[in-house]
């Protein structure tokens, strides 16, 4: 089977880091800024960045509706940090005008760990990656406060709060696998693309 072509939503954020990660896995990537870019991709990575800014730019670039449609049709997606917020069905502590796709049935609280001074690194056990813990970098990170039926929790921090979830072919993490050399979460996403 040919390797899929993965889009990286390139409106704002750490787009380059995801592209490098995909490159290192030998996967072709496409920067997605406009509707026509969407037609060329089999799956989409929504990167870390400022979720309220990305939400605005999705509307301005007239990308929100077409992307929502693709996600509804079952396009695989991987959201990290701001990307997780964008894919969630509910945003807590967001801006009033902030949109999300509801591609995974979770409620996500923005900036749940505090300001930058509280940003941290840690080692997490992730279900499906049994060999060793994943080194996870949390930056002004969100956390999952509610998971709907059918959502699998893949990792949690010590209070039992989920920080990695999966529903079908949609994968989300509070942390930034794109900041670490460990590519297993990107691999997990690509392997799971078939659903």
């Amino acid at each position: 089977m040919a390797l899929p072509r993965i889009g990286v939503l390139a409106l704002q954020g750490a787009v380059d880091l995801h592209i490098h990660a995909l490159e290192r896995l030998g996967v072709e990537s496409v920067e997605v800024r406009r509707t026509e870019d969407l037609a060329r991709v089999d799956g989409l990575v929504l990167p870390g960045g400022e979720s309220s800014t990305i939400s605005k730019l999705l509307v301005i670039n007239e990308l929100f509706e077409p992307l929502a449609e693709r996600l509804n049709e079952g396009m695989p997606a991987f959201g990290t940090c701001a990307g997780m917020i964008m894919l969630a069905s509910e945003i807590l502590d967001g801006r009033d005008d902030q949109l999300s796709f509801g591609a995974i049935d979770i409620s996500v609280r923005r900036n749940a760990f505090g300001r930058q001074i509280d940003s941290f690194e840690t080692d997490l056990s992730v279900i499906g990656l049994p060999e060793s813990p994943v080194h996870a970098v949390f930056i002004r990170a969100p956390v999952v406060e509610r998971v709907g039926p059918g959502v699998e929790i893949l990792a949690a921090v010590e209070e039992g709060r989920p920080v990695a979830c999966r529903q079908g072919n949609v994968l989300v993490t509070s942390f930034h696998p794109e900041l670490s050399p460990d590519l297993r979460l990107h691999e997990l996403f690509i392997k799971g693309m078939a659903g």
Binding site: L11, Q12, A14, L17, R34, I127, V137, A155, L179
Partner: protein, 301 residues
């Protein structure tokens, strides 16, 4: 709940990865200077990725003269209360105590900034000693690498703040990125000479030779006044833009702010740039560099 293994081993804050990581998340965005909560709200509404809290925008500092210092903590906290995006604030060059106060206020980034009056004529702050990350200005690659060796986690080209004139920003960006390009083609022996000429640590010069990029994100500041200016510096290689006086000294700040956000995200798309540049009213009044009494970019060592 599903069968999950909560496996925390330890949690570490203030690491290099965490500090540089926030800069990575701001890429492609616009960081706006604001002097009060109302302006901060306008900036966030327009799509800013962060705001820089300061007492006066650079063009007013330039006009008023006198000593420019760190902002009143009450003002910074007022801004932190009204926005949910990161809040940065400026400390004077070498002013360790101002930086400590800003860290205590939990600002998200500290700008050790030449826009304020320097507190030390020889030394910058030892930024490794802080858990909050620092951004520093640079006019050339040597200055950028000295700041990185002191612990800066983001570099912004300085430009000439408060002028609305992009020419210095372009000069500094071209100087920094041009030298990086030259270093990538230098041989091992030449790298020693580069380190000597740049007055920069050899290991950082060698790292650039290998990676072809600065070890930290590189943004642009100083003189950006229009959406086209933002596109220009992004095309030259800046990874995000700081806009100071350019927004709140224009005739319609909310409109200008939104247009610069759109232009930065779509900097390669002339159709969008044309659309967002229309009907913005007056940009901030600009200054010719040759007429300036003080060049802020010359502060920093």
């Amino acid at each position: 709940m599903a069968d999950l293994t909560p496996g925390i081993i330890s949690r570490t804050t203030g690491t290099d990865l965490v500090k540089r990581g926030l800069a990575d998340m701001l890429k492609g965005g616009v960081i706006m200077d604001v002097v009060d909560p109302a302006q901060a709200k306008i900036a966030e509404d327009a799509g800013a990725v962060a705001v820089m809290a300061l007492e006066r925008v650079p063009s007013d500092i330039r006009r008023d003269g006198g000593v420019a210092r760190m902002s009143d903590p009450e003002m910074i906290q007022g801004i932190q209360e009204v926005v949910s995006i990161p809040v940065m604030a400026k400390a004077r060059i070498g002013h360790i105590a101002e930086a400590q106060i800003l860290q205590a206020l939990q600002v998200d980034y500290i700008d050790e900034s030449e826009v304020l009056t320097p507190a030390d004529e020889a030394h910058h702050i030892d930024k490794w000693a802080f858990d909050v990350p620092f951004v520093c200005g640079a006019t050339n690659l040597g200055e950028a690498l000295r700041r990185i060796s002191e612990g800066a986690c983001m570099i912004r080209s300085k430009g000439e703040a408060g002028t609305g004139n992009v020419v210095e920003a372009v000069r500094h960006l071209r100087s920094i990125l041009g030298d990086i390009r030259k270093i990538t083609t230098a041989d091992q022996a030449e790298l020693f000479d580069w380190a000597k000429r740049l007055q920069a640590p050899l290991p950082l010069v060698q790292e650039i030779a290998e990676t072809g990029t600065l070890p930290v994100p590189m943004f642009c500041a100083g003189g950006i006044a229009t959406p086209a200016d933002a596109s220009l510096v992004m095309q030259l290689g800046a990874q995000a833009v700081f806009v100071g006086s350019g927004i709140f000294k224009s005739s319609d700040p909310a409109l200008m702010a939104k247009a610069i956000v759109e232009a930065t995200a779509n900097y390669l798309d002339p159709d969008i740039l044309a659309k967002v540049s229309r009907g913005l009213g007056d940009a901030m009044p600009g200054l010719e560099i040759g007429t300036l009494e003080t060049k802020l970019s010359e502060r920093g060592w």
